[in-house]
């Protein structure tokens, strides 16, 4: 351990500790602060609301984490999200029209959309890896194309008329607790109006976290994740070590699109509609979450856990301000400042990221 001390002569333990975990500390601090100042923040419902509101950010942030660690950026996630919401809604309605039961239609529609959603990612990957188009431009073009296609599909409107079941799934919870009636799963019996019903663990959050767990595992534990870091750190070294960098980058962009697609499907279930620009507002927020989580836009550095913390930080901030009833125009200012501070901390304490437990394996 003594060598680690030697590696960072400039900063004390405390500063280094805070520097490395500032996002987490900030998250805890703001959560506690809201508990005290915002009436109604300190409730199970609001607590779950933070996670529901965070779902798109968790998924798009994770998508962006893979891409940013590999040294790229994916501007198309927001519109792949919209594209997926439109495609899944259209498919489900079509399948139902063809006689499928609502459950089957939703199942097949969502599964098919997950496959279709990977197509823009594949194109991104080919453009970036094979044709050497800068990621910024490649994914921006794909943004335009997926937006255009989804607008064409809905002819400028939105895809709706979804079976009621989709909304039941999208707004449902794993368990319900009714005092006097006890626990029940997935549905609860009809009770007199006004009886408190405690809803526990939203289905969309569960769905999101299943995927988050899979991809966190992929990034942290596997060869694939390791190679993603290596490519972001030094693509030449990766090539010379025999890693098929081009194929790998293609997969990274496909993963990104897949996660964005899932987010779009969950949106469709939650809001009973497909909308081409539904995910537009999450693009920059997801990049912000990744950067707050400690990733570097130069590639090679970042963690999925950090991104989740970053996303939660934003989600708690937004939900807390809403519960407070404060006009959230200021949120842009706060987020802008947090973002810059995030990078400045990284600049002032470079040893934090270069020591053993910095933000990469």
């Amino acid at each position: 351990m003594s060598d680690r001390q030697a590696a960072r002569p400039r900063t004390g333990r405390l500063v280094s500790f805070v520097g490395r975990r500032w996002a987490l500390l900030f998250l805890v601090a703001e959560a506690i602060a809201f508990c005290f100042i915002a009436r109604g923040f300190f409730t199970l419902d609001t607590f779950q609301l933070v996670f529901i509101a965070g779902v798109p950010l968790f998924l798009l942030g994770l998508a962006e984490t893979f891409v940013i660690i590999s040294g790229g950026i994916d501007l198309s996630v927001g519109f792949v999200f919209g594209f997926a919401s439109v495609v899944s809604a259209k498919l489900i309605v079509a399948l139902q029209g063809a006689g499928a039961s609502p459950g089957l239609a939703i199942l097949i529609g969502c599964a098919a959309t997950l496959l279709i959603g990977m197509i823009p990612g594949y194109f991104n990957g080919v453009l970036v890896a094979r044709l050497r188009v800068p990621p910024f431009i490649a994914t921006y073009s794909m943004l335009s194309v997926t937006y255009g296609i989804s607008e064409l599909l809905v002819e400028g409107s939105q895809a709706g008329n979804l079976p009621y079941l989709s909304s039941v799934i999208g707004t449902g919870f794993i368990a319900y607790f009714i005092p006097g009636h006890g626990f029940s799963f997935f549905t609860h019996e009809r009770v007199a109006r006004g009886t408190p019903v405690y809803s526990i663990i939203p289905l969309v959050v569960v769905a999101a976290f299943v995927f988050v767990a899979i991809f966190v595992f992929l990034l942290r534990m596997t060869k694939f994740g390791h190679h993603t870091y290596a490519i972001g750190g030094n693509p030449d070294a990766a090539v010379r070590s025999g890693i098929d960098v081009k194929a790998h980058l293609e997969r990274v962009y496909v993963i990104s699109a897949l996660l964005a697609t899932l987010a779009g499907i969950l949106y469709m279930l939650q809001f009973s509609q497909g909308k081409s620009d539904a995910g537009a507002s999450y693009l920059l927020d997801s990049i912000v979450a990744v950067v707050i989580g400690g990733a570097s836009l130069y590639g090679g550095v970042g963690t999925a856990g950090g991104t989740i913390i970053g996303a939660l930080l934003l989600s708690v901030l937004e939900t807390g301000l809403r519960v407070l009833g404060v006009a959230t125009f200021n949120i842009y200012i706060i987020v802008g400042i947090i973002l810059i501070i995030a990078v400045l901390i990284d600049q002032f304490f470079p040893e934090i990221t270069s020591s053993e437990s910095g933000a990469s394996p």
Binding site: G160, L162, Y164, V323
Partner: protein, 333 residues
Amino acid sequence: MKKGLAFVVSALVFLAVGLTAFAGGQTEKSTASKQLTFVFVPGVVDPFYYTMEKGARAAAAKYGVNLIVSDYPKSWGPEVQVPILQATVAQGNIDMVFLAPTSTDALVAPLKKLYDSGIEIITVDTYIGNGDYSTASDFSFPLSYIGSDNVAGGKLMAEDLAKLIGDKGQVYVNSTNPDVSSVNGRVIGFKQGAAEFPNIQVVGVDYNLDVQQKAQEETSAILQQYPHLAGVFGTNLYSAEGAYQAVVNAGLTGAVKIASWDATADLINALKQGQVDLVLAQKPADMGYLAVEWGYKHFHDKAEVPKKIGTGFELFTKDNVNDPDMAQYIYTK
């Protein structure tokens, strides 16, 4: 590993905090004598809803209702509005929520949940389902829908614009977003109205997605394509402002008649200067006022609330624009 551990620990702390809250977070239900608390959730940040808020505040002051106005959604859509709605009602002790639903489908489930927990719902300006709450259905639980009849308004605009252009010629519609039910109603109503005039031809509908500059570009292009265009219908303030700027710029003021839906100060000003010819004002202040008033009557007097309440329109023309009685219908910040 340490980082992972830290994350898990913090997540557990979070969970514990949440569960503690779960045990003690809910408060006693209201009794009849206490002050009523209503929540207003606007559709999007826009002078229309701001005017509605003012109406609601006036009624709230009159009836002694505690009115909570949520954060204004920054764009139109349930993904923005629903989290705001849910976070605002999290404050607890809410008796009624009135809002402009941003989706006919997506708001049903969250509003139903609020309704089931004992909160009353009124929708203003826009509605859920098909807007008919008088027959029992999955979405008929709100107390009332208070708003203007967009189709009828669109029709009215078509008839009045027809009068201005002498019942003949080409007209064009600039609208905001095909996603929005109320705005679409105006387009449909306008087309129905125009269809009654055999010599009037609707040459197209463009969507500017609430960006005025886009509306201006689109209208400029249309003026090129149809050099003898007789009239333009802008379905909300962005459409109307962009459209009249394009016409002003083309030097066609007076030659192309402009009908505007929604009466902002700027559009009224343009009407005074002759750059706009017809301005329809909805009565957002009435919508807000009536929502609070009927809510109060429902709780206080156990009154039966009509399932649908129309608020009507006022039409500004160059003849009545300086009439002091009309000033109240201008949307203000």
